[in-house]
Amino acid sequence: MNIVVCLKQVPDTNEVKIDPKTGTLIREGVPSIINPDDKNALEESLRLKDEHGAHVTVISMGPPQAEKALREALAMGADEAILVSDRAFAGADTLATSHALAATLSKLDYDVVFAGRQAIDGDTAQVGPEIAEHLNLAQITYVEKVDIIKGGLKVRRAWEDGYENIEVKTPVLLTAIKELNEPRYMNIKNIYDMFQNKEVKVWNATDIGADVALLGLKGSPTKVKKSMTKEPKGKGELVQLPANEAALYVVSKLKENHFI
């Protein structure tokens, strides 16, 4: 079984802070990590490799520094890594991104395309299903369990109030959520092995053979008109009183506002 994992290198948004003076994001010093949902997709693929001998390729569309994330995936146990990088991709929204990744995938053999549900910087959850559409693949999102069955997979997908068990033939695209598994760490032996024996292939727009009109800013139907940091709410009241008096004050405010 061939599995291709789509992963994205993202800033650790838990560590991102807003500069109180300028109101802009402080991005320096924020560590770059493999997007958490993508790591779950990768872990599941590695589990299928451990248990069923699947071949795992990881791909990522990103700037040159995204190589670090792919290296991490190799150190976790992936077999091959491809970085898809080109200035032509700059400014891509999710649709343009999905075209680039779909073009890349059409150059690879796969039974399963595994992506994370959403990235913690964009938070859209769109690229996975869009790739599936371009490649005309069946898709299952919010995956929390995967089993191999004859000719395909049995997948459990989450719903807000429960779950659904689904059978699907391969090829198929899946998007993973964190409930799927607990990702492993990098393996020390793999760290040395992959720096010595594995290279991260770098493909550009020509290599993937994509239609340039569909890439980057030009291929993005959505554009950012403006971005701003969230407005802080008007000042609230800070109360430092003994518990009894504080409680009384809160209750009086609740009554005053007709909340109770």
Binding site: N14, V16, E130, K154, D161, E164, G236, L248, F259
Partner: protein, 335 residues
């Protein structure tokens, strides 16, 4: 693609097991406003089986028109069936705007549809408006884990698509007298159109009310310390006829069920009153509740981020303040 050909605001009316989801009405509420700004019709699109009752509800909550796609194969959501029906309809009728709820279903369906229609989709919009000069839809949404707000425009492609989270907008008041045009479309679907085979759908029994419906939420975070201590919050919630919520930390520690997780990766809530106990107020949590009407925070740390966001910040120990609150409320009620 001639932009001028595209008219009308569509709302995907999400139903599950024959019941319309709350989000459908919220989308109609906002959709009404947008349609009025454009001077165009608001259409609800419903896919399902046995849809008659649902059609009436959609009319009563703001739809000028309801497009009904009724077919046994649409009773339960599958990407293939729903995407096919909606895209065929969209290509045929050319709506200018399509709103879809950012539910698990909507986030599966939305991008599949937008990709097939080769148009733009903006996810998790928290505010929508029409730009004066261009009449383009302005879609504002959080990014970077909620640290940033971005306003997105889909200028050259139609339809403009947006997904909206439940709890962000409000539904209109019910108007059973509202006139509504109903169009039943002929659905061409066969088993071979659907590549996934649903074996079973299991509801995980939770006695908890949908936290998104609650007017009052008493929420706890890491500072609550244990599952047992959540009983303080439960008592207050019961007293106020509200529900208990939790931050991600509380969920990960197993103190509350994940269905009541409030925040970036949990639910967005806009209750009338949100009482945060032992919650520090990380951006990811604030993203899920900062639009609450009235926020009360009880925390031992006066400098915790939530204290700046709260309308009323109490520096103290929730385990002492809450019992006192309950006592005072009961006294008030007995008067």
């Amino acid at each position: 693609m001639n932009i001028e050909d595209y008219k009308g605001v569509w709302v995907f009316a999400e139903q599950r097991d024959g019941e319309l989801q709350k989000i459908s009405f919220e989308l109609l509420g906002k959709g009404r406003e947008i349609a009025d700004k454009l001077g165009e019709k608001l259409t609800a699109v419903i896919l399902g089986d046995k849809t008659d009752d649902m059609v009436k509800e959609l009319a009563a909550f703001g739809a000028d028109k309801v497009i009904v796609a009724s077919h046994p194969l649409l009773a339960h959501f599958t990407t293939d069936a729903y995407a096919k029906v909606i895209c065929d309809l969209a290509n045929d009728k050319k709506p200018e705007i399509i709103f879809i709820g950012a539910t698990y279903l909507g986030r599966d369906l939305g991008p599949r549809v937008s990709a097939r229609l080769s148009t733009g989709l903006t996810a998790d919009c928290t505010s929508l408006d029409i730009e004066e000069e261009t009449k383009n839809l302005l879609m504002t949404r959080p990014a970077f884990g909620g640290n940033l707000m971005a306003t997105i425009v889909c200028g050259d492609h139609r339809p403009q698509m947006a997904t909206i989270r439940p709890g962000v907008f409000e539904k209109l008041t019910e108007d059973k007298t509202k006139k509504c045009e109903i169009e039943k479309v002929n659905v061409k679907l066969t088993d071979s159109d659907i590549r996934t085979k649903s074996l079973e759908v299991v509801k995980v029994a939770s006695v908890l009310a949908d936290i998104g419906e609650a007017d009052i939420i008493v929420s706890g975070g890491r500072g609550v310390g244990s599952k047992e201590n959540f009983s303080f919050l439960e008592k207050l919630a019961t007293n106020l006829d509200g529900v208990v919520g939790g931050s991600r930390a509380a969920v990960e520690n197993g103190w509350v069920d994940k269905s009541v997780q409030v925040g970036q990766t949990g639910k967005t809530v806009r209750p009338t009153v949100y009482i945060a106990c032992g919650i520090s107020g990380a951006i990811q949590h604030l993203a899920g509740m900062s639009d609450s009407d009235f926020i009360i925070a009880i925390n031992k740390d006066a400098t915790a981020p939530i204290m700046k966001v709260a309308d009323l910040a109490i520096v103290g120990d929730y385990s002492k303040v809450i019992p006192e609150m309950i006592a005072h409320i009961n006294t008030l009620r007995n008067k």
